[in-house]
């Protein structure tokens, strides 16, 4: 063992022992874990924590049973989630009143509270343990492995689970080229959406000379409907930081100074707080800053918050934003690896990409590459949302099929509903119909199908979603978020939106569909950055897979999903109506009238089609008709 490597090893040992005596989360100990992710927070984890503390105090267990607030468990649909170790009893949707019973049965004894357990919607069976729930059992968790197991505020927890050993390995080897080769061999590709080979990016960045190199973590997860990066940062911030330090060493080790930035959305206050906290702790233990682990390598990371601009997820817009400019992309004839932040060579990777790096270094490129398909290696995290039973955060091997993800892990559609489409890649991606459910998930096959991997948003929609309305939503989003630099994107997206609006109002003609298609091509061709280059994708996939539905809007003025307001009409089903007046009470415009216990009626002239009456009706007596109105 060389002198350098023993020095680094000792330094890591010192960092670990500096935390001696602090409580470590441990699967084998008796402890209560509460998910402290954003979704579980919103569904009431603070009140739950108070109830747990009070109940433990009351029973004199406050010192004996540890309560650990972990990162996102992923099963957000069932929040707030509590897991009782060591058995791993899983309690979803817990309320403070249930706590004493849970503590007396599962913490003080070895039993389970049957009535509070998770019910598998497929079998109707109650499942006691986390590992047996289909949602978890079918996943392969590499990046999310420690999410839900460790306290994100505890560096010691991360160290106890082998954290920073990959960094120590890299620093003691002292060969940056070797790390790049390892990452290249692993086949890791950028998880932000485009899938550029990570190792190659690092090599290019290293080759470009500058006064300084920058290593940036892109956590500006602007994709509506995606929260993978947020959950990783919230649940295991150190894994991202470790990945960044390794990247910095690969790029800047023996090659000049390097500086790091994490560009994170401000809409994610927990993630910002946990990352800042983690950076401070890492600095205290000499894992970050000057002379990291005694290796002589200097690197520090600053946190920069976004300010609500989707386009800032684009690399050149992101650097402009850090520089304090309007976040407008530039042409990329010169890549950011050559001319990025402040004009210096800059490496920008996504959160998930960095979080994969420690695993690759620790386990080796071959182990990483053994998962996945020929061109896409490893696993991918998706945020599965929309009209599925089990929404949440999932990690599956590349090459898993959409059907496995949506129907086996996701538990399929809500009762009585039929699968219609799955939207991948957010506003830049496309919708895939049921016929493509057996498509494997990897970069190439999704692209060929007219969608894209994107950062991992996966929104499932059923027959109650109108595809025209859905495409309108995405286009409205990109039209608003277009920075305005390239005319085809700024004007083109607005014009396309107008056409879609005409379609949804029943005022379009079939020629409009051709116009839409040719406009889409122009926008793709004429935009500098990926926002414009991919903005028409939702529309193109709509035209490709759901043309029937558009034609039905145009020709028959029929919105099959009964969503497009100008094409629908509300009425009361006289046989079902009991005259309970619930709809009268909620109608904001007093369009519903009728005596108690007599059939109500809706005044079409007043009705604003807000759907309040249909939701309030308990007898399914409010009906929605379509295809009956003449267009305006």
């Amino acid at each position: 063992m060389s002198a350098a490597s023993s020095r680094v090893g000792q330094a890591l040992q010192a960092a670990v022992s500096a935390g001696a005596g602090t409580y470590l989360a441990d699967d084998t100990k008796r402890e209560i874990r509460i998910c402290a992710g954003t979704a579980c927070h919103a569904s009431g984890r603070v009140a739950l924590r108070k109830a747990i503390d009070a109940a433990l105090e009351e029973r004199g267990l406050a010192g004996d049973v540890a309560v650990v607030e972990t990162g996102c468990h992923g099963f957000c649909e069932e929040g707030p989630i509590v897991v009782v170790r060591p058995e791993g009893v899983f309690y979803p949707r817990l309320k403070p009143v249930d706590i004493p019973e849970v503590i007396e049965t599962s913490v003080m004894g070895d039993g389970v509270v049957e009535r509070l357990l998770y019910v598998d919607p497929a079998t109707g069976r109650r499942v006691a343990h986390e590992r047996e729930i289909p949602f978890y059992a079918l996943q392969k968790r590499i990046v999310l492995g420690l999410n839900g197991k460790i306290d994100p505020y505890s560096l010691d927890d991360y160290l106890a689970h082998g954290g920073y050993s990959a960094l120590a390995k890299v620093l003691s080897q002292g060969d940056p080229q070797n790390i790049i080769a390892e990452v290249e061999n692993s086949g890791l590709r950028g998880r932000g959406g485009a899938g550029f080979p990570t190792g190659k990016k690092w090599r290019l960045c290293r080759q470009n000379l500058g006064e300084k190199h920058y290593v940036i973590c892109n956590a500006d997860e602007g994709d509506p409907g995606a929260f993978m990066d947020r959950s990783v940062l919230e649940g295991n911030p150190h894994s991202v930081i470790e990945g960044m330090i390794i990247a910095a060493y690969a790029i800047g080790g023996g090659n000049g100074p390097v500086e790091g930035y994490i560009y994170v959305r401000r809409e994610y206050p927990f993630a910002v707080d946990r990352v800042r906290h983690a950076l401070d702790r890492a600095r205290e233990r000499n894992l970050l800053g000057k002379d990291i682990l005694g290796s002589g390598f200097d690197f520090d990371i600053r946190v920069n918050q976004g300010a609500g601009a989707f386009v800032c997820g684009e690399s050149t817009a992101l650097t402009a934003s850090i520089e304090g400019q309007r976040g407008m992309p530039r042409g990329k004839h010169v890549r950011t690896v050559a001319h990025g932040l402040w004009g210096e060579p800059t490496n920008i990777n996504n959160v998930e990409t960095y979080a994969n790096v420690p695993f690759i270094v620790k386990s080796g490129a071959d182990v990483f590459a053994s998962t996945g398909t020929a061109t896409s290696k490893g696993t991918k995290i998706f945020s599965l949302t929309g009209k599925v039973v089990n929404g949440g955060l999932i990690e599956v091997p590349m090459g898993a099929t959409l059907r496995e993800v949506i129907f086996e892990i996701g538990g399929g559609m809500l009762p009585g509903r039929e699968f219609k489409a799955v939207q991948l890649g957010g506003p830049s991606g496309g919708c895939l119909p049921a016929a493509l459910l057996d498509e494997p998930i990897d970069f190439e096959s999704l692209l060929a199908a007219g969608s894209m991997m994107g950062s991992g948003g996966m929104v499932v929609v059923d027959d109650s979603t109108c595809m025209v309305d859905f495409a309108k939503f995405f286009l409205k989003f990109t039209a608003e978020e277009s920075c305005g630099k390239c005319v085809p994107c700024r004007v083109g997206t607005s014009r396309m939106l107008e056409i879609l609006e005409r379609i949804s109002e029943g005022r379009a003609s079939l020629q409009d569909l051709d116009l839409l298609e040719s406009l889409a091509d122009d926008v793709v061709e004429g935009s500098l950055c990926a926002l414009g280059g991919s903005a028409p994708n939702p529309v193109l996939s709509l035209l490709r897979y759901f043309r029937d539905e558009i034609v039905s809007h145009v020709v028959e003025h029929n919105c099959p999903a009964k969503v497009c307001r100008p094409l629908i009409r509300y009425g009361v089903d006289a046989e079902a109506c009991t005259g309970c007046a619930a709809c009268i009470a909620v109608c904001p415009v007093h369009a519903v009238s009728g005596e108690r216990k007599a059939v109500h009626s809706i005044d079409e002239d007043l009705c604003i089609k807000c759907d309040a009456c249909r939701r309030a009706c308990r007898f399914n007596a409010v009906s929605v008709e379509t295809g009956v109105l003449a267009p305006a």
């Binding site: 919103a42 602007g222 300010a307 009209k387 979603t465 904001p588």
Partner: protein, 255 residues
């Protein structure tokens, strides 16, 4: 609106435009010197005109690109007195502007001196005041040695910065994809009707501000609404939205 040297007749023709970033600046002043030089020469420079849309709105939304790329620095973008987006705090005469406690500004200056970027400085300002008051923006411009127009260009580019004070309760409705497919547009509409304000507006009593946000990342609880900075309400339909407003109003009456 012609580019008219040195003339600032303030406030012609920009009224109540809600569109993002439009009609922000009134006067684009050419510098007399360069123009006189060029006029009469063969290539000429002529008068500039800002192109208007069909509706008569200026297409210019003051992205400041022309100011920055002009080879002879002849374009200077300034504030306009009648700008609806700037609001009274920015453009009104000093006596009408709400008082701004400049003590809150000291830590922001300290932050800038320790190397925080412009966007970070704006965040800190908004955190301190709840919005971006003009005196603070001027202070930042001073500290960072940048033109105020540049600060304004950045502040107006990002969706999260507010140039007007907000109400006591800020209601942010998530319009992410998952929320959209589960009916968030109906929720926005319900809030808007119940509060009688458009999205982005504040009620006259200063109690409520209604905003939309792209994604809060709590998609499993869609549709999601955030109240203020710390309370998030999930699975909220239009009827629940109306009830929520009524509940908050009642609280206010009691308090």
């Amino acid at each position: 609106m012609a580019i008219d040297n040195g003339r600032n007749d303030g406030g012609n023709g920009h009224k109540g435009d809600q569109a993002k970033g439009s009609a922000l600046f009134e006067v684009i002043q050419g510098i007399d010197f360069e123009r006189r030089e060029l006029v009469g020469k063969r290539q000429g420079s002529g008068d500039f005109d800002l192109v208007k849309d069909n509706g008569g709105k200026d297409r210019c939304y003051a992205c400041t690109l022309c100011e920055r790329t002009c080879p002879v620095d002849c374009i200077d973008i300034g504030y306009t007195a009648s700008d609806p987006m700037l609001g009274s705090a920015i453009a009104a005469p000093e006596d009408a502007a709400p008082p701004v406690d400049m003590k809150l500004f000291d830590p922001i200056i300290a932050g800038i001196r320790s190397g925080s970027g412009l966007v970070e400085a704006l965040h800190a300002t908004q955190e301190a005041y709840g919005f971006l008051p003009r005196p603070a923006l001027e202070g930042i411009a001073d500290q960072m040695n940048l033109p105020l127009s540049r600060i304004y260009g950045v502040a107006s580019f990002y969706g999260q910065f507010r140039l007007k004070p907000v109400g006591k309760h800020v209601i942010e409705v998530c319009l992410g994809t998952a929320c959209h497919v589960r009916g968030a547009p109906l929720v926005v509409e319900a809030f808007s009707q119940e509060l009688e304000i458009p999205v982005g507006g504040t009620t006259p009593d200063g109690l409520f501000t209604l905003q939309t946000v792209n994604c809060l990342g709590a998609c499993a609880l869609a549709p999601v609404v955030r109240l203020g900075t710390d309370e998030t309400v999930g699975r909220l339909g239009p009827n629940e939205a109306r009830r929520l407003v009524r509940r908050l109003r009642k609280q206010e009456v009691r308090a």
